[in-house]
């Protein structure tokens, strides 16, 4: 029996709202929060709450130093070379939008190309589509190979000197695959293309080293890695961030405002207008502390073990169709699937009644659904607080689904 040594850190699982045990299998949507993060938020609002940068008084200084300390923490966590390369945003979506609209918007032309993949989440697809419409550049897609993984040969074939930017997810939120982002970046750079990595599903699961990947931009959200919602990070190489246009102008990003013009602060504050999500950033700091305490390699190892078990149990049901690799170890805690002949929404409703919480739908990846030629699918996603009982509960509930819909209740 696989038991989670981390589950007791998460009060969500002990809140006793209902008698029925809930199997929370939707961490790719958002994670539950460890008590250390929740306590840090309470502590902040109880002891240290003041606006940052502005106050001369002690509380404001304390809040400011806590906030700025998290920037250093993030820098270390993803191994950026400088703290000014870490910009706080409200999440992956905002980070990616700022990259597209703040950096690439005026830099592409009609004969340029944008290369993304068919597995991208809408937040790493729709902004690029808008850029293509705006500039007339061609938006091209890398396909999947036979094992439903990124097709590297197809990527190489579509790479050329017209490609100005390659944008790719680090881990797919549907297929669960880990993309070879370091190799992709090396190849793309040979053609002079910039590389943007969507790290939403990788952060908190894998060791991310932006210098090793050598990508130009990296985006992630806090809430998928135990931090509160509404806080995220935009990493960019310094020389690129220097050229990036702020999409918001206002307080704290200026150095001198005259009647007709303004001079701006240096990085990172130039890109952080207005009062920031101070408690969110401080919560992110606590989440990174927690992740460091658990050790990312152990987290990865635990989730792999549980994923393998879930994968084996799922394929033992003949009606189950799994998307993504046929090899369980290529699923980073995410398995998407369908039950032959039963719509995923109908499945999900029965699962919900049985206390099993999975996602059903297109997972903000409609292009991938079209590519796979399915309207929607179910997705289970695991994190360190899940254990074998959650998987068992899912499998029992799936048998109930089959009994109900296939065999006339």
């Amino acid at each position: 029996m696989i038991e989670s040594p981390y589950r007791h850190d998460f009060p969500f699982f002990y809140s006793q709202k209902e008698k029925l045990k809930r199997a929370y299998l939707d961490s790719a949507a958002t994670t539950q929060k460890p008590s250390s993060v929740i306590e840090e938020l309470v502590h902040f609002y109880t002891e240290d709450n003041a606006n940052i940068y502005r106050g001369i008084y002690a509380t404001s200084q304390r809040a400011t130093s806590k906030f700025e300390a998290v920037r250093d923490q993030v820098k270390t966590f993803i191994n950026a070379s400088e703290r000014t390369e870490i910009i706080f945003t409200k999440g992956t979506t905002q980070s990616l939008n700022w990259i597209v609209f703040g950096y690439f918007w005026d830099r592409l032309h009609s004969d340029d190309e944008i290369l993304i993949s068919v597995m991208e989440h809408h937040s790493n697809l729709v902004p690029w589509q808008q850029l293509a419409i705006h500039t007339g550049a061609k938006l091209n897609y890398v396909n999947l190979n036979e094992d439903q993984q990124l097709d590297i040969d197809d990527f190489k074939a579509k790479l050329n000197s017209r490609v100005k930017v390659v944008a790719l997810t680090h881990v797919s939120n549907v297929l669960g695959c880990l993309n070879p982002v370091t190799q992709i970046t090396t190849l793309a750079h040979k053609f002079g293309a910039k590389v943007v990595i969507d790290g939403a599903q990788a952060i908190g699961h894998l060791q991310v080293d932006v210098q090793e990947i050598n990508c130009d931009f990296y985006a992630f959200s806090g809430h998928k890695a135990f931090a509160p919602t509404g806080v995220g990070v935009l990493y960019g190489k310094k020389e690129l961030l220097e050229k990036m246009k702020p999409l918001e102008y206002g307080g704290e990003m200026i150095s001198d405002v005259n009647y007709q013009n303004t001079s701006f602060k240096d990085l990172p504050l130039r890109l952080e207008a207005g009062t920031q999500n101070i408690s969110g950033v401080i919560g992110l700091g606590a989440a990174l502390d927690y992740l460091n305490k658990c050790k990312l390699n152990e987290i990865e190892c635990y989730i792999k073990k549980l994923t393998k078990l879930a994968f084996e149990q799922l394929i033992s049901i003949p009606e189950v169709i799994i998307y993504g690799s046929k090899n369980a170890s290529f699923h980073q805690g995410i398995i998407s699937f369908n039950i032959k002949g039963i719509h995923p929404h109908d499945v999900a409703t029965v699962l919900d009644i049985k206390g099993v919480e999975v996602r059903a739908g297109h997972h903000c990846a409609q292009v991938l659904m079209r590519y796979l030629n399915i309207p929607a699918c179910l997705r289970l996603s695991l994190h360190i607080y899940n254990d074998e009982t959650d998987i068992q509960q899912l499998i029992i509930a799936l048998h109930e689904v089959l009994r109900f819909f296939k065999h006339g209740s």
Binding site: H345, T349, K354, G361, Q366, P375, A376, F405
Partner: protein, 148 residues
Amino acid sequence: MDHDNLSTLYRQAILEAGEDPHNFGDLLRPTVSTELHNPTCGDVIILQLKISDHIIKDIKFKGQGCIISQASASIMTDLIKGKSLDQAKKLRIAFSQMITDDHFIDNDKLKDALIFKGVRKFPQRIKCATLVWNALEKSIQHVEETNG
């Protein structure tokens, strides 16, 4: 208890209609054709109406969706066939009240569509049941706007 809960939503008639829906397919030269998407789940429905003298003479639908949405489309199209546009509009409002209002008193005019009453307890599934009715409303709006 679980099972009762499940049977509240998936009544036998819903399961049957969802498996083998009526009025599925295409109309030859429809007066109006409306395509609606359920953006949260990717379901799509195409509703076609043949209207003359303000009467819905024929109606068909196609698309893909869950049992609830397919059954709702089957039962709605059966119910609405032969009705005037005004009657259809009233039925749409009645259906929408039934599915959202806990104090709804059965409206016999909804006939077979009354079996969707149980969907009220499943807020995430209301959109599945109402998708085809929304397509009906849009179709009628379109006809009324183009006619006058």
